[in-house]
């Protein structure tokens, strides 16, 4: 017995000197994804017809700078981007084998190049011009409700309340914005009422989930059904009977920002927008600062991570949650206004069409971080826009396949492809003393 003790002890002291990193399996999923995409881009380059050309339009009608249509020789352009993509994929393998920390620039650069390679291939000898600015403008427009929704979701979840009802809040915001704008014949009145609608839905959510500790997912689902039904009912009764009074189209005017809106390509995309989009920039920026640097942000995160700890330092956990979820609801309601007054449309049944759920996915993909969620929402918006553009110019791949893209990305995102995502620790858990 004692003999064995000694011998085991001798063996045991040695692992202390052993490097423990050696056992961690290398994650190959990113390099493999890059490799597959790089191989696809090579395939694109191979299948481009000899001497084909791809045309890009870099400005749209009303722009300050009119840039002539750019014409690229498809095959060389395709090959150059394919080669760079292959090199980048190789670099990713090399990095993974060294267990280096992944950096954000690589997927961004890779994504932009891959999209370029794809567009060159898809637009080769189509006789159609690829309207880049239109595509980007469309991408932003499709992203706006997603971004508002994702910000709503993350404010709620950072304070520990799961919000599945973003869809309902967007829809309620869209509805009330349209009705208010119509009744007061002013689009800006819609902006006043949209957040109220979202906040009311938020208040219902928080009333049941905080006061009565009902399962938050169930309350959220029920609220979605409730708002879809309620707006649908009002639409088919009051709104349809007297559309001039209740559902007349109103549009927020575009307010180009002098100077900035004249920058080629990005100027018209980002800075020739309505006040709603500028508000969105402001909200994302403010959340990014306030969530991580302010007293409110620190307390919000504390309440979402460890409510009991927050309680022991005198923070009113449930009050904090109530305020935050209502505030978040107002943000989503504002986002809903984009569907109607933001685009000059009348209200239509279920016009949010699942954007609230995609917003939720954007929040997860963005790891509960305002900037991450912003980028994720933009990615979703862009892939939808890409699908729309390709549907009009006609491509070798069916555009329906491309329209699936956001949902495919969502599934991968939620399944944790983007690495281990850590939600706030107390997310979805009611706080009872």
């Amino acid at each position: 017995m004692s003999e064995q003790t000694v011998s085991t002890a001798a063996v045991q002291t040695d692992p202390l000197k052993r490097a423990s990193t050696g056992v961690r399996p290398i994650s190959w999923k990113y390099p493999i994804t890059y490799a597959v995409l790089a191989a696809l881009s090579v395939l694109f380059a191979l299948t481009v017809p000899e001497g084909a050309r791809t045309h890009f339009r870099l400005s749209s009608g009303g722009d300050f700078f009119q840039i002539p249509i750019v014409e690229l020789p498809s095959r060389p352009a395709g090959w150059i981007s394919a080669v760079v993509l292959v090199v980048l994929a190789g670099f990713a393998f090399w990095q993974a084998s060294r267990r280096a920390q992944a950096r954000l620039w690589l997927p961004l650069l890779f994504g932009v190049l891959f999209v370029f390679a794809f567009l060159v291939w898809a637009g080769a000898d189509r006789g159609a011009v690829i309207p880049l600015v239109t595509m980007l403008t469309g991408a932003l427009a499709l992203s706006v409700p997603l971004i508002f929704g994702a910000m709503c979701g993350l404010v709620g979840e950072r304070s520990g309340v799961i919000n599945i009802a973003i869809e309902a809040q967007l829809l309620a915001g869209a509805f009330l914005a349209a009705v208010a704008a119509s009744v007061f014949t002013s689009a800006y009145m819609g902006l006043v009422f949209a957040p109220i609608a979202g906040a009311l839905v938020g208040a219902l959510l928080v009333f049941f989930s905080v006061k009565y500790q009902v399962n938050q997912i169930i309350v959220g689902v029920v609220l979605n059904v409730l708002i879809i039904g309620l707006t649908g009912f009002l639409f088919s009764t009051a709104l349809t009977q007297n559309p001039e009074l209740w559902n007349a189209r109103q549009q927020l005017p575009r307010l180009p920002i002098p100077g900035l809106s004249q920058i080629p390509i990005i100027g018209p995309v980002l800075f020739n927008q309505t006040i709603l989009v500028y508000l969105m920039y402001l909200i994302v920026g403010l959340l990014n600062i306030f969530l991580f640097r302010s007293r409110w942000g620190l307390r919000t995160r504390a309440v979402g991570e460890h409510p009991k700890a927050a309680d022991t330092v005198g923070i009113k956990v449930n009050r904090m949650r109530v305020y935050n979820v209502i505030l978040a609801g107002a943000i989503a309601g504002l986002g809903g206004a984009f569907f109607t007054i933001g685009q000059g449309l009348a209200f239509g049944k279920e016009m949010s069409a699942g954007a609230g759920f995609i917003a939720l996915a954007a929040m997860i993909l963005g790891r509960w971080h305002p900037i991450g969620a912003l980028l994720a929402a933009l990615l979703f918006g862009f892939s939808t826009s890409l699908g729309n553009v390709l549907a009009t110019i006609g491509t070798p791949v069916p555009s329906e396949a491309l329209l699936m893209l956001p949902y495919v990305i969502t599934i991968f995102a939620v399944a944790g492809f983007v690495g281990r995502v850590r939600p706030p620790a107390a997310n979805g858990t009611p706080y009872v003393k």
């Binding site: 003790t5 045991q12 423990s20 007293r295 460890h306 700890a309 923070i315 620790a425």
Partner: protein, 529 residues
């Protein structure tokens, strides 16, 4: 500041957690509150801290009656508390944790991080704490986390500091440092309430001791009392602090773990190349501070986690391809660490809990394909076992949640030991139990050993390790630092729990004794007198 309680009573439903408790803590005094698990110490402290409001009685600070609507009020009145389970947010930095709730701000509620940081540095400098204000809480060892909690309390000018079981998570050396800190605080005029169930510590640090049992004060005494006296007061009868056991008679090697490596869900290595062997009829205790991979090791042996490398051999058979169920069938008995979530199903009856892993085989099941449960057989077996294991209960048809923790644990033990075991694994088998139940559990484990079953026990309680083990393996950051005989001193084990290899620990411990080890020697001397 002087803290006085007069007749404080707190009830939960029909259960009286605190029964007319009166006690006075003088300024600059370390007042120990000694009592068993479940005696009502934590309830009392949560009442003082404003988390509960007392049903009767009053709390006085410097002879002024106070009433708190929440912890915020208590903090404003100068009461600080270090909870047994730290109230720290793992993803926050030290500065953020200390500032939370009392944030220095500039315009628009933006935090003044420089000021918050300076405050952390100032307090840690004042008491010689070595704490990095920018470190993330989850990256700090528990000893450092506790210092953050103390800084938190001090940053709010606490005049009365409550420490709830502060040593539960510390190595003896860290406990030593804590004792020094407590001395410093006392000398600067802070009153300290020190809650514990560990007799040794009480005698080493307290100026006065109040003992509570079943929610009521049973006596006030001085640290000069012997351990036996204190134990008798705490439990209400004579107790044996150590369980008598014959020396082990180890047989052939029958269980072996080789190069076992396990990752957690975040892909971090939690069990790192662990090797050890066990012989029949011996108890090997895996000691170490909580969170160093012991729980994961035990779970991997049962099959709840899949290792990325290494093998587990029981009777020369590799367990790797076997499911949990097959492992249990192969003769593995397992007592999980969290009784209420993993050991029993609260809403099920005692009978149902007793047959949880045997319900689908004869004699408890019958008929074609064993589809029918034989309920009378189950009840009878549960009844017999409950009597054998001295489970205090109304009847075997009561939900198990109506039993005390100790009795629930007895049901778990009865279930696991009702099969013929080739290996018995228990994780924290006595956590949260009262002294009587602890004695029973220890005796039962030793009986199982004497039957020839190798027993692998994970324990973070050094007392338990020393009491129960034939050999002790100390784990630190997923690795086994060394396997030593059970006669190894507390100081050496403490150093090993901080990652110092066995031989080095021997050398260091020879030159520096901790307060607790000295108290140990003193107690022994008294016993021998």
């Amino acid at each position: 500041m002087k803290l006085e309680l007069r007749g404080v009573t707190k009830r939960f439903g029909s259960f009286t957690a605190n029964d007319r408790i009166s006690l006075t803590v003088e300024p600059g005094e370390i007042h120990a509150l000694l009592g068993e698990n479940g005696a009502g110490k934590s309830t009392l402290m949560n009442t003082i801290y404003g988390l509960y409001s007392p049903d009767e009685g009053e709390i006085l600070l410097d002879d002024q009656g106070v009433s708190f609507n929440g912890p915020g009020d208590a903090v404003d009145a100068g009461i600080g508390m270090v909870h047994q389970h730290f109230m720290l947010i793992p993803v926050f930095t030290v500065t953020e944790s200390v500032a939370l709730g009392y944030e220095p701000t500039r315009a628009a509620g933006i935090m003044d991080m420089a000021q918050a940081r300076a405050k952390v540095l100032e307090i840690s400098a004042r008491f010689g704490f070595d704490v990095d204000p920018d470190a993330r809480i989850e990256d700090l060892p528990v000893g450092a986390q506790q210092r953050v909690e103390i800084i938190k309390a001090l940053s709010r000018d606490a005049k009365v500091l409550i420490l709830d079981e502060p040593t539960a998570v510390l190595t003896p050396q860290e406990t030593d440092e804590l004792i020094t800190i407590m001395g410093q605080l006392r000398d600067s005029g802070t009153s300290i309430v020190f809650i514990t169930h560990k007799l040794r510590e009480v005698r080493a640090v307290a100026d006065r001791i109040t003992v509570i049992r079943r929610g009521a004060v049973v006596g006030e005494t001085s640290p000069q009392s012997t351990e036996t006296e204190l134990a008798g007061l705490m439990v209400g009868r004579e107790v044996n602090l150590t369980t008598a056991k014959e020396p082990a008679d180890p047989g052939e090697v029958c269980f072996e773990v080789r190069g076992l490596t396990v990752l957690n869900s975040a892909d971090k290595v939690v069990v790192d190349h662990v090797d050890f062997q066990m012989r029949r009829g011996e108890i090997l205790v895996i000691a170490g501070v909580d969170g160093n991979g012991q729980s994961e090791l035990a779970q991997t042996v049962l099959g709840l986690r899949t290792p990325v490398a290494g093998s587990i051999l029981l009777d020369d058979k590799d367990l790797a391809p076997l499911s949990v169920k097959q492992r249990l069938a192969a003769g593995l008995g397992f007592v999980p660490e969290d009784r209420s979530t993993d050991g029993v199903i609260g809403a099920f009856t005692i009978t149902e809990n007793y047959v949880l892993d045997m319900y689908d085989r004869p004699p408890y099941a019958g008929g074609p394909g064993n589809v029918a449960l034989r309920l009378p057989v189950m009840r009878e077996a549960a009844q017999t076992q409950a009597e054998r294991f001295d489970v205090r209960m109304g009847g075997v048809d009561d939900p198990i949640s109506t039993l005390s923790g100790g009795n629930q644990q007895k049901v778990v033990l009865a279930r696991e030991m009702s099969r013929d075991l080739r290996l018995f694994v228990a994780s924290q088998p006595t956590r949260g139990l009262d002294v009587g139940s602890i004695e029973f559990v220890h005796r039962t484990i030793i009986e199982e050993r004497d039957k020839g079953t190798p027993c692998l026990i994970v324990s973070t309680e050094l007392d338990e390790a020393l009491n129960l083990a034939d050999r002790i393996a100390v784990m630190y950051r997923g690795r086994i630092v060394g396997i030593v005989p059970a006669s190894t001193s507390r100081d050496v084990l403490g150093l090993m729990m901080a990652g110092v290899p066995a031989d080095e620990a021997q050398a260091q411990a020879a030159t520096h004794h901790t307060v607790l080890a000295e108290a140990d020697e003193q107690a022994e001397a008294e016993e021998n007198k």
